[in-house]
Symmetry: C2
Subunit: 140 residues, 2 copies
């Protein structure tokens, strides 16, 4: 995702395009490891040493409100962010803070079929996400 694309995403939501917003959205996009606000601020400071921490938080919240990024649930109390918006699941390491995306169209279809037949009483499903806990077998 290049700068022009980022500008357009912001504009498309009626948000003013500022260097800080570009930097934050770019950072969340580039840092694919579901970064914390702290990590995002640190990354941005390479190019924008003066960005305030409060600004990063404000921008992240605004981007979430405007559905340009998402929050990721974790067991810990530190919020993490994700720039991938189409439906996907997460692989969580049982032993570290690592979180990876998991895409599986076939699984999504299976779940849609399943819940078409099976009704949850008093509940209308909008979205289903899997949290898959386990062990990464590679370099982790």
């Amino acid at each position: 995702m290049n700068i022009t694309e980022i500008r357009n995403k912001l504009k498309g939501r009626g948000l003013k395009v500022t260097p800080q917003r570009i930097a934050v959205l770019e950072a969340v996009t580039i840092l694919k490891d579901h970064p914390t606000a702290e990590r995002i601020a640190e990354y941005i400071r390479k190019d924008h040493p003066d960005i305030a921490t409060g600004t990063v938080y404000k921008i992240l919240e605004k981007l979430v409100d405007n559905k340009l990024i998402m929050k990721v649930k974790t067991d810990k109390d530190i919020m993490r962010y994700d720039a991938i918006l189409y439906n996907h699941h997460h692989l969580y390491s049982a032993q570290s803070e690592r979180i990876e995306n998991y895409f599986d169209e076939e699984l999504d279809q299976l779940l849609r079929d399943y819940f078409e037949k099976k009704d949850i009483p008093d509940f209308r499903i909008e979205e289903i996400k899997l949290q898959i806990m386990g062990k990464f077998l590679d370099k982790e």
Copy 2:
């Protein structure tokens, strides 16, 4: 779950049995709505007005470490707890803080079957939880 059961759970883990620990474990068990630490402390103070907030946090952490309760992941940064330990899923309200348990053996079987055939590269699954986001249609 009565007091004796609670005492036994604590003993079974080699934990000293104190009134505070009994109260915390009992509270998480009774409050089935995935309470926050704050809510748990408030509940306990009905009978133990002097319990310290720090103590509640320490005990919750110890219970989690000893797998007597679990943390529940949320989009918010406040931790919530659950005394139900066997595998289950969660229904999240898209508009409020409500979280309900969802049990579905058939679904669990479906997922087991699915992932027996379909391998996730470099990952060994230990547990799968669904986060089902949507709208509660009852009194909410």
